[in-house]
Point group: C2
Chain length 332, copies 2
DNA sequence: CTCATCGTTGACAACGCTGAACTAGCACCT
DNA sequence: AGGTGCTAGTTCAGCGTTGTCAACGATGAG
């Protein structure tokens, strides 16, 4: 029982294989009657295109590479899931690549490890457009989150605005010594989006910036990293009444550190996260956070990528999407 | 600047295209000298195979579909990540499919939604081999976790053994009224692996089984589900000194429910999870759990799948892998 | 009534690769 | 000398699809 081919459908419909192909590709210049006859024949013989054949003839694969640093971070897992489902809606299949470090991300963007695809959507961890220098990626690439560059289309989550909003919320509740738990010095210089939001909010309230309130974890999104950073800050003797964390996982570690030092949240110290992951609802106390509009981010990324694949040329674009403040017990 | 083809390499190396192909495929009947010459030529012209061409000619795609119910559960996210990386080691690319419900899982197994692949690895949520009845999948399929069936090769995580171990641990610490938080009645009838482990441990200690200690959540792995189940159990007035949960996420919700009712863990009630996700280290208190040997599971699944793709025929096989008890504060 | 035009369809040649079948050369045996 | 068996390599014909271009019939203008 061979799998039916275009030719089989063609015989059935009494037309040439090429006409069947045209119908399937939605090409113009096929009469409605023929179109209908072909569709019927396709259904009757149970035809499905062979992507290998199509790929060979057209030079396209119908596949998009989605590159994420890992899947254990809920933020990336959710983003990957949304991307896969949204791309499937567009009849595009997906190949997921895990890029553990900056080199792997660069290779994915430059097409070294992503050859068999029409385009790449990268959700970067370390990556910024700068690392590829002047080498243009051989295939369309869209960056989803992270720091934008002049080279690659980028969807920028409203990190700055979101982070500023959460800091303003803390300031408005009367807390003025707000510690900031980040991942590494590189988030300050060059200033990361979230750090910029922090500074902007302080400015708006006329609160002086105090370097002693910065704490750095060793690893971006491990809970342990937040724990270590918090312990370090407590040992330093710095005084603070709120802790803003760059993400929920870090905040989870911070909460644990505060608890183990007998500091009550939010009574003595308020804590906030970022990303609004599922977990935040179940920490003790539940965690205030900022929810990026992932649906919007994904839609924009796919739109831009498809335009590029369709041949759109021009300078790198930048689209900003929104973020929403989610208040829970940890900052009441 | 055309992308180089086999023919280009062949000219460069002074052999036929077929010989280059043979070298690339590691076929015998090529002298060491020729082999070396070809390799050099490949490197010089920067040749990379065109998977579409290869696929069309060979009938294989070099791609495996990995099917998971979602990515927001750390257990599946980690499994997917491991699978992707391990398959990449074997020069197999991966297409990740999200199958939200049993129908989607069945379609993936039966090849309806997974056409362009050489094989399928399914990490099931609802799926059991029975739903496909007598329809044989058109492509090799391996099931990773879940309930085995007579139809499909299956890697069974040592759920029964692992769950029995954690219950024995609770019993050994003197707790005899052990509540069990599960997802739905179907885990009891037909008996799920974890439920079987629970019963076996009770038997071994001569502790009578008490139906009043069973609690059911609405959803498999949502934290909220554990929360609701626990609240229900507390309202029922049942008395217990330990709660064993079918997974960490459920346990996280249970901890929250106990806390909000002022019940101290582990002083009054011990709590255990399953899966040993990262999160368990950061709950309050930290969560005792069972760690499945995912590395082993993944390796076995891939081995079986490759054997099938290589033409191995025969009845469905079943491989059991281990699980390891991880003790933390929640059951001290 | 003829000719140009337009919309529709078909013939054919790729696309890059591999399987099957074949050949040339050599060593070994009878 | 002639057959046999093996290795190293080649030739050729597709695999299923789409792009190019030519051919066709119908239509409308002159």
């Amino acid at each position: 029982m061979r799998r039916p081919t275009l030719a089989d459908v063609a015989v059935r419909a009494g037309v040439s294989a090429k006409t069947v192909s045209n119908v399937l590709l939605g090409r113009p210049n096929v009469s409605a009657a023929t179109r209908e006859r072909v569709r019927a024949a396709v259904a009757e013989v149970g035809y499905v295109v062979n992507p290998a054949g199509r790929g060979l003839a057209s030079g396209r694969t119908g596949r998009i590479a989605v590159v994420v640093p890992n899947l254990y971070q809920p933020y990336f897992a959710e983003l990957a899931e949304r991307l896969i489902l949204a791309l499937a809606e567009c009849d595009l299949s997906t190949t997921l690549r895990i890029a553990h470090d900056g080199d792997a991300e660069r290779d994915a963007v430059l097409g070294v490890t992503t050859r068999d695809v029409d385009g790449v959507i990268i959700c970067p961890h370390h990556f910024t457009g700068h690392v590829i220098e002047d080498r243009m990626p051989p295939r369309p690439v869209v960056q989803l989150g992270g720091a934008p560059s002049r080279l690659i289309d980028c969807v920028v989550m409203g990190e700055r605005e979101g982070f500023e909003a959460v800091i303003r919320h803390l300031l408005a509740s009367g807390r003025h010594r707000i510690a900031l738990v980040m991942t590494g010095p590189e988030m300050i210089e060059p200033p990361g989006e979230r750090f910029a939001g922090y500074v902007a909010a302080l400015d708006a309230y006329g609160v002086p910036f105090d370097k002693a309130l910065l704490a750095f974890g060793s690893d971006w999104d491990r809970r342990m990293s937040g724990y270590e950073a918090m312990v370090g800050l407590l040992r330093s003797g710095a005084r603070f009444d709120a802790v803003a964390c760059v993400n929920d996982a870090t905040a989870s570690g911070v909460l644990r550190a505060l608890r183990s030092h007998g500091i009550r949240v939010p009574r003595e110290v308020a804590v906030t996260g970022f990303d609004n992951t599922d977990e935040g609802e179940f920490t003790t106390p539940s965690l205030s956070s900022v929810s990026p509009e992932q649906g919007e981010m994904v839609a924009e990324a796919i739109r831009m990528l498809l335009e590029r694949i369709d041949g759109h040329d021009g300078p790198a674009r930048e689209v900003r999407t929104g973020a929403r403040l989610v208040l829970r017990d940890s900052s009441a």
